[in-house]
Symmetry: C2
Subunit: 211 residues, 2 copies
């Protein structure tokens, strides 16, 4: 998988750079819209090019496959969402109150999952990942796992502060509150709300058994 | 959705009943194989009929849609798996040791998720449910939710025994160990094992915070 944004032509000339930037954004938008509308299998480089109003060769000059284009389009969507939310860094805040910090980031995830810009392409790609293990693994590695690692970091600092048991594996622990929300969203098993994600955090931290 | 097995012809004559039973099983097998091979959208009644070696009208006489056929084929697969495992009842055992009971049923689920007969059709259907909310909801209501209710029942009896806090909502609580396994399976986020599901149960029951 080769991602060659730095090889884009015209880096030296402001007008050409602006044109490139416009094309890049049109290609991302076209790719995300198409995959949401027709699904991953029918989203071809030809269709992306036609919808973006660029030549096929423009796409092949910068990306090697449609999976590459979509991967970068999603990364870009995440960047934009973070900027819109005024987040300088992607780290989960550490206010010293672990429950409050986890609840805040899960509430933000609830909002994101309901954002229509995000929903259709994310569902199309997630659906493809269920039956296409290779694609699923690439997107998990590049898109999902980096955001899960932010929970690992926060849980580790909570372990240092004594708020999480030292024998707990943070990579498994985060799934107690992340995966239930993911499954409700993916499989439409039940509605979700801030109350729901708050409850998940409380159950996970304090356990189901009496203390 | 009308499921009309009771209207199947020949219920009164043993030979006709055997022929009906053979056809029904051939139709289930064809439906499950096809959806695993070509996905839900391309699994048509025509293709199921051709593969099962029956006329299209035979299928339409008993089921009103391909979703109906697949739903019953999955219910039948579950019945067969339960019989093969020698389970008389679907209830989660109550030995008085909640952690052991939950670990046992999750280990059985790990085995089931790895069964090739089950994997391809389940993935195809789960993938379709991600992007097709109506189908997703029908399959959740008819297939997934009844098995989740078995956890609700077990957790309620644990509440009566004082092993689960009285204020815990069992329908949310079960997601702390069911959803992580579901997400690893659905999204290929990480491998899973008996050790992993055992750990989920321990974390969920006793919590991540020190006691």
């Amino acid at each position: 998988m080769s991602v060659q944004k730095s090889a884009a032509p015209g880096k030296t000339h402001p007008d050409a750079t602006r044109r490139s930037e416009r094309s890049r954004r049109a290609i991302y938008d076209a790719a995300l819209t198409l995959v949401g509308e027709v699904g991953y299998p029918k989203t071809t480089i030809e269709a992306i090019a036609a919808r973006a109003g660029v030549g096929k060769q423009t796409i092949y000059r910068w990306w090697s496959s449609k999976a590459d284009v979509l991967l970068e389009a999603f990364l870009d969507l995440g960047e934009q969402a973070a900027q819109a939310a005024g987040q300088e860094s992607h780290a989960i805040p550490d206010t010293g109150d672990l429950a409050a910090d986890l609840k805040a980031v899960l509430r933000a995830t609830v909002d994101e999952l309901r954002d229509p810009k995000f929903e259709a392409p994310s569902r199309a790609l997630a659906a493809e990942g269920v039956v296409n293990e290779e694609l699923g693994r690439v997107f998990v590695t590049k898109l999902l796992e980096p955001s899960l690692q932010l929970y690992v970091d926060r849980l580790r600092s909570a372990q240092e502060a004594g708020d999480i048991r030292p024998d707990v594996d943070p990579r498994i622990a985060l799934e107690l509150f992340v995966s239930p929300l993911a499954q409700r969203w993916l499989q439409h098993t039940a509605p979700f709300s801030y109350d729901y994600t708050d409850t998940l955090v409380d159950y996970a931290l304090y356990g189901l058994a009496p203390r």
